[in-house]
Amino acid sequence: MNLKFLNTVILIVACAFASNTLAQVTETEEITVASKKFTESVILGEILSQLIRTKGHHVIHKKELGGTRVLWDALIAGEIDTYVEYTGTLEQELFAGQDVHTDELLNHALAKLDLQKTAPLGFNNTYAIGVNSELGKRLGLESISDLKNHPELIFGFGSEFMNRADGWPGLKQRYQLPQQNVRGLDHDLAYRGLASNSLHVMDLYTTDAEIAYYQIKVLKDDLNYFPEYQAIIVYRSDLKQRAANVVKSLHLLSGTINADRMLTMNARVKLARESESVVAADYLDNTLNVKSTFVSQSLWQQFVVYSYEHLVLVMLSLSAAILLAIPLGIIAAHRPKAGHVILGVTAIIQTIPSLALFVFMIPLLGIGGPPAIIALFLYSLLPIVRNTHAGLSNIAVEIQESATVIGLSNFARLRLIELPLSMPSILAGIKTSAVINIGTATLAALIGAGGYGQPILTGIRLDDTELILLGAVPAAVLALLVQALFETIERLLLPKGLRSLSAAKD
């Protein structure tokens, strides 16, 4: 019965989102473009979006998704239609273990997944290893091999580089590097670590604008370890039927962006703080002579959108959690054996790292709102279940027995006696859940669900504290507001007899 209820909740939530999406499809073809959470990918995503929009289609750009796997799975599942990927990533990671080293083999492997690609866009954004230039000069570091003599150096790598076969594990083996102090951290934060000397060596992308800005010394890959990372556009094969003109224009982009152009565009966004949309529009105008339009939103408009998205995430997931968790808590209190299972399972869910839970949802529910809502819903269960259980279990025995012995039915006893008496505890559980939910919902932006996490992600990417605060402060304020709301509800609902109890205690 509980499972059935959960299914219903999932269905309702999914329907709410589906109807929302369907409504937009009716006018023209809806094309979803995606980008990874680094600036170059966002610029390229914006170029694709604007180009497709000029062909008369409705385009959704899912920006800053958290990780290659998220985009790849979403592309295969049809959640997104196209994005810019790199050949090295396809060979080393996405088709790891398969032979795709020629163009023909790669096309064949893609076709099996109903995917296609364009010819390279024209630049190679491969990995490189960089050091703080002052430090490099002092230690005489020129190539990666030179690092062997300095085991004391601290390395900081992006989490993808840290774990992928063609990243740190392979690099360490090829160059026989002795360093032990190797940390995983966000790529954009690594630049700041390098500048402040808390890190000595980091991974770079060769088209990163920050290389010049932070005066980073790029070490020569003297053993030719890093593979080619040619930028290409991957898209779903069904795009040909759905919008042939889109596929044609995507192929037009091949060979038009060389490394210098990409570096310049990256620098305009990251260093000159221009918006990706403007840079993308200029590029289309200058290179393809395509006049594109884009709607630039004011900070205030963006704030309204983020707030709306965040509130939807929190309200749907929290209310579903309340509806399920209170009955579960009641069952747990009345049936000790079932209670062990219920409390155990909800506690286990709570121990799953939130980002992992979001990613687990992608194969089931795709990207965007629904998987985020389900993940948040699961996270919100434990505090409410536990407090409902505690509130009911802590009712004095003589009151429970009196309620039984005067002849109230089980349901009436629950409604008239047990729930009112455990209300303060239940509300405290809901408050805890709400605060956790609002905080965790900021991570939902990583799987394309938007909300206050979006400006936080963008802010970290662009080293823009103001933008980070635009997400972080409202999230904190929202948490306080929700807390105040539930305190008011508690004051209104708390039975008068219990109020004099707390007064008597004072």
């Binding site: 005067i406 039915s409 009112p420 008496l421 039975p495 007899g497 109890l501």
Partner: protein, 251 residues
Amino acid sequence: MIKLTGIHKHYHSHSALSGIDLNFPEDQTTVLIGPSGCGKSTLLRLMAGLETADGGELLINGSPLTQSNLTALRLRMGYVIQEGGLFPHLSIRDNVCIMANHLGWDKDKTEHRLIELAEMAHMPKSKLNHYPLELSGGQRQRVSLMRALMLDPDLLLLDEPLGALDPMIRYDLQQELKEIFASLNKTVIMVTHDIAEAAYFGDTIVLMRAGQIVQTGSLSQLLQSPSDPFVLKFVNAQREPMQLLTASFSQ
């Protein structure tokens, strides 16, 4: 009214009741008495359906107490415990009327019964909208009694109803309770550990020890023909200190 035959009850390895045979006659007050842990409260809780016996037969008006008739039987019994067991979030009025409201009684009928009980229990009308925590211990027990009597049950079960009260209030309430019982003509079963209280209320006293009945009868029967040396020992343990004190003053 209630007939117990060979009742057994265990908690783990400890035997709380071993072979209880008892008959509670209709419209009489029976008092269960004995030292702590003798099983007197367990016996009362069995009759209220709060515990189930491990063996033996419990007949109420000739039919056994089962899960299916429990709710119906409970509407015919009132139950008062030591601390009152009042619901702290409900007013006195709602505490007393909770079952009448739940059963969908007519409003006037409920109100009429409430006022009747308030007068009987000497509960000022002004207190009816107060909450249990705003009342004194004695007042709370009056409310608990009103709640137990609301549906006019045939059977009244009281588990040390006056046990938590201080002696003066206890004395006053004892007298009132006795008058109330006399006016009600109900089958009353009361648990106490106080022999004076037992003698004051009980048509019949049932003296228990270690899960068994030692003797059943009036106080004078217990004193004049004790079935066991324990009977005199138990009765005198409470009477003698006072008698000795009184004697020492009169000398």
